[in-house]
Amino acid sequence: MPNIQQRYKTEVVPALMKEFSYSTVLRAPRVQKIVLNIGAGDALDNQKVLDGAVADLQLITGQKPVLTKARKSIANFKLREGRQIGVKVTLRGARMWAFLDRLCNVALPRIRDFRGIPSKGFDGRGNFTLGLREQLVFPEIQYDKIDMLRGMEITIVTTAQNDAEGHRLLELLGMPFRRD
């Protein structure tokens, strides 16, 4: 199962070509990028939360995340425009493939009571988003070094035209979807 990038070329693309009868290889859906986002609204009270989130994402992805800022002020949330309220990181190329490998083959099986990931995370245009409850499922994160449990959203952007194509692409890459 590992060496996911190579497997995409040698196994996944031919399988997709056959199933959806594309006229050219370039029509076969590809994984374009993976975006990891941690929304840290509690950073408003405690700036240190952001440092923890940055450290976590950095260790998981091997890439330094970007601080996201409030787009507009919302008084009810005591939010002012421009305050730092989250971190995100965009993965492409080699790091993206490595992350996908670690996610599907190590991190997801480590989720408590794992029974497959839901197929309803598709957005209608072939991109898939998955929410995680705790960062501990990634083996890089050590239990005694974290400041708090925090989840994240993982979005996999593909060039698939619809959900069926995207679903099949991820399934062939080894994504453990729930079987009903």
Binding site: P2, Q58, L59, I60, G62, Q63, V106, P109, E140
Partner: protein, 99 residues
């Protein structure tokens, strides 16, 4: 990617699972150890056993055994409860007769 701000990258980090399976993957740590991987997790292999990381299954079985041991010799409380139930039944019947 900008130079100098990202953590060290190990393109050939080793992953070792408790089931004996190993492979290499790019990661920010040189070595990854894990209890379960895609190779041995019951969901991936066809759900043939229950994952028991915290001994919950053992604890449940033990509790079940304990309960069976204690239940068989009926306690005073259980007897009293039975008598009470009998009274309730009687009352029910008379109530029906009145109605």
């Amino acid at each position: 990617m900008r130079e100098g701000i990202h953590p060290k990258w190990y393109p050939e980090a080793k992953v070792a699972c408790a089931c004996g399976n190993t492979w290499t993957v790019g990661a920010a740590v040189p070595e990854i150890r894990t209890d379960v991987c895609y190779n041995c997790h019951p969901f991936f292999t066809g759900e043939q056993r229950i994952v028991d990381t915290e001994g919950q299954v053992d604890r449940f079985i033990k509790r079940l055994e304990k309960r069976q041991e204690t239940v068989i010799p009926t306690s005073k409380k259980a007897k009293r409860r039975k008598e009470k139930q009998a009274i309730v039944e009687l009352v029910d019947e008379t109530a029906e007769a009145e109605a």
